[in-house]
Amino acid sequence: MYFDSFAEFIAMGGHGLYVWMAYAAFLIILCWNLMAPKLRRRQVLETVARHWRRQELNSTKPNLEAEPLPFSDQDS
Amino acid sequence: MIGRVFHYEFLQAYRRRSELVTPVVFFVLVCSMFPLALGSVADLLAPLASGVIWVAALLATLLSLDQMFRQDFDDGILEQMELSEVPFYQLVAIKILAHWCLTGLPLVVLSPLLAMMLFMPSESYLSLIVGLFLGTPILSLIGAIGAALTVKIRRGNVVLSLLIMPLYVPVLIFGATAPVMAAQGIMPAAQLLWLAAMLVLAATLAPLAASLGLRINIYGS
C-alpha cells in the first residue's frame, strides 16, 4: 500500500478532488455502458416475442380479417 | 455527355438563381457580423480576419451542400445518370466541379473585398486567395460525400453538418494559418502545399465515395 492511512488515500495528497472526479466519470460512463445494452436486450426480446405471438395467432385463426393489422411491425 | 452534364448544371443553377445567391450573401453577412460583435478596431480585427473569412466560407459551403444532389435525386435524374454509359463517378465529379464553380469560386472572388473590410494586412491577401482557391474545392469534394449519404434524409442539413464539419478541420487549419504566417513575413508554402496535396487526395477519392453513397441511396430498397 502506498498510502499510510485511509484519510490520506482519500485526500490523494491534495489532488483528491480531481482524481476522484475522474474515477467518478469512469464509473458513470461504465454504468451507462452496462445498462444500455441490458435495456435494449429487454426491448428486443419483447418485440421478437410479440412477433412470434402474432404469428401463432395468425396461423391458428386464419383469415379473421383480410386486412393486415394496423400497427404491424413486420420488417420490410 | 460530360459537357452536357456540365451545361445542365449551369442551366439548373440559372433557373434557381435565388438559391444560388444565398450562400454568397450568407458568406458576406457572417463576415460583417464580426466587426459588429467585436468592435471595429483595426488592431483587433486584422489578426482575426483570415480565421473569420475561412469559417464563413466553411459555413457558406455547408449551407449550399444540401442542395447538391437532392433535386436531381428526387427527379430521378441521378438514376438516369447512373445508368448511362459514362462511369457514374465521373458524372458525380462533374457535378461537384459545377457546384464549386457556382458556390466556391464566388467566395474566392469576394474574399479580397471582405479581407479589406476586416483590415487584413496587405501581405496576407495572396495567401488568402490562393488558400481559398485550393481549399474551397476540398470543401465541396468532402461535402459531396456527406450530401450523397444524406440525400434521402428530409432536413438532412443538421446531420450533414455534424458529419462533415470534423472532416473540414485540416482544411480550416492550413487555410486560416497561411495568411497569419504571411503577415509575419514568412512564406506560407507548407500550408499551401498541404492544401494542394489534400485537394489531389480529395479529388481522387471523394467522387468515388460520393458516387458509392448515391448508389446506395438509389438502389437501397
Binding site: 469512469f26 460512463i29 | 494559418t177
Partner: protein, 249 residues
C-alpha cells in the same frame, strides 16, 4: 489458406451460439483486469514526482484514449469488410461499436480536462492530443446521427460504413494538422503523459487497465451485437427456439 472460419463467423446464428459462453469470459476477464488495475493504480502505485497523485488519472485517461482510437479503426476495418463481402454481421459491429466508442472518447475527454486542472491550472487547454480527441468525438457523433436518421436498415448500414471509411482516411490528416497547429500557436508545453522513463510499478497497472478496457469493449459490443442479431433475425426458427428456452414466448 482455409477461409471457412471466416464464413462461419459471418453467419449470425453461428456468432450468436458461439458468443453464448464466450461473452462470460470477456466479462470475467474485464472484471479481473479492471479491479486489479484500479486497485493497483489507485492504492499501490507510487506517485509521480512532478504531478503527485493527480498522475493516477493516467490509469483511466490513457486506456480510454487508446481504446477510443482502436474502436474507430476496428469500425473502419469492419465497415470495409461489410461493404466488400456484404457481411451483415460486420455492419452490426460498426453500428453497435459506435455508441460505445463515443462514450469512451467522452471519458478520455473528461478525464483529460479533469487532469488538466491540477497540471495546467485550467480545465481546458487546446493541447494537441485533447483537441484531436475532441474532433474524434465529433466524428463519432456524426456517424451515429447519420445511422439514426436513415430509416431503411440496409441503406443506413452501408451509408454508415462509407462514413466510417471516410473518417478513418481523414483521421491521420486531422491528427497531423492539429499537431502542427498546436506547435504553431503555443511552443511545446509538456504533455500530460510525457515522462522520460516511467517506473515499472507505474506502467504495469496502466497496461493491465488497457487490457481491461479492451476486454470491457469486447464484452459490451458482444452484448449489443447479440441483441441486434436477435432483432434482425426475428423471423427465423432458431430465434424462436432461443426465446422458448428463455421462457419469454
Amino acid at each position: 489458406m482455409n477461409w471457412t472460419w471466416f464464413h462461419k463467423w459471418g453467419s449470425p446464428k453461428w456468432f450468436f451460439q458461439k458468443t453464448e459462453s464466450l461473452i462470460y469470459w470477456f466479462g470475467f476477464l474485464a472484471l479481473i483486469f479492471l479491479v486489479v488495475g484500479l486497485v493497483w493504480g489507485l492504492a499501490f502505485a507510487p506517485e509521480d514526482f512532478k504531478q503527485g497523485n493527480s498522475f493516477r488519472i493516467f490509469y483511466i485517461h490513457v486506456p480510454s484514449a487508446i481504446l477510443a482510437q482502436s474502436i474507430f479503426l476496428a469500425m473502419a476495418i469492419s465497415a470495409a469488410v461489410g461493404l466488400i463481402w456484404r457481411m451483415k454481421l460486420a455492419h452490426v459491429f460498426v453500428e453497435t461499436a459506435a455508441p460505445i466508442g463515443a462514450s469512451i472518447t467522452l471519458l478520455a475527454l473528461l478525464t483529460g480536462a479533469i487532469w488538466g486542472k491540477p497540471t495546467w491550472g485550467t480545465w481546458w487547454v487546446w493541447d494537441a492530443r485533447l483537441t484531436s480527441t475532441l474532433i474524434q468525438f465529433f466524428l463519432y457523433l456524426g456517424i451515429i446521427s447519420l445511422h439514426q436518421s436513415i430509416e431503411n436498415r440496409d441503406t443506413a448500414s452501408k451509408a454508415t460504413a462509407i462514413a466510417c471509411l471516410v473518417g478513418v482516411v481523414n483521421l491521420p490528416i486531422i491528427k497531423f494538422s492539429v499537431n502542427w497547429w498546436n506547435t504553431l500557436h503555443q511552443p511545446a508545453t509538456f504533455t500530460l503523459t510525457e515522462s522520460p522513463a516511467m517506473a515499472t510499478e507505474m506502467w504495469v497497472p496502466g497496461l493491465i487497465m488497457v487490457l481491461g478496457f479492451y476486454m470491457l469493449f469486447a464484452y459490451l459490443v458482444t452484448l449489443r451485437m447479440r441483441s441486434e442479431i436477435l432483432e434482425r433475425e426475428k423471423g427465423s426458427a432458431w430465434v424462436k427456439a432461443y426465446l422458448e428456452k428463455l421462457n419469454v414466448l
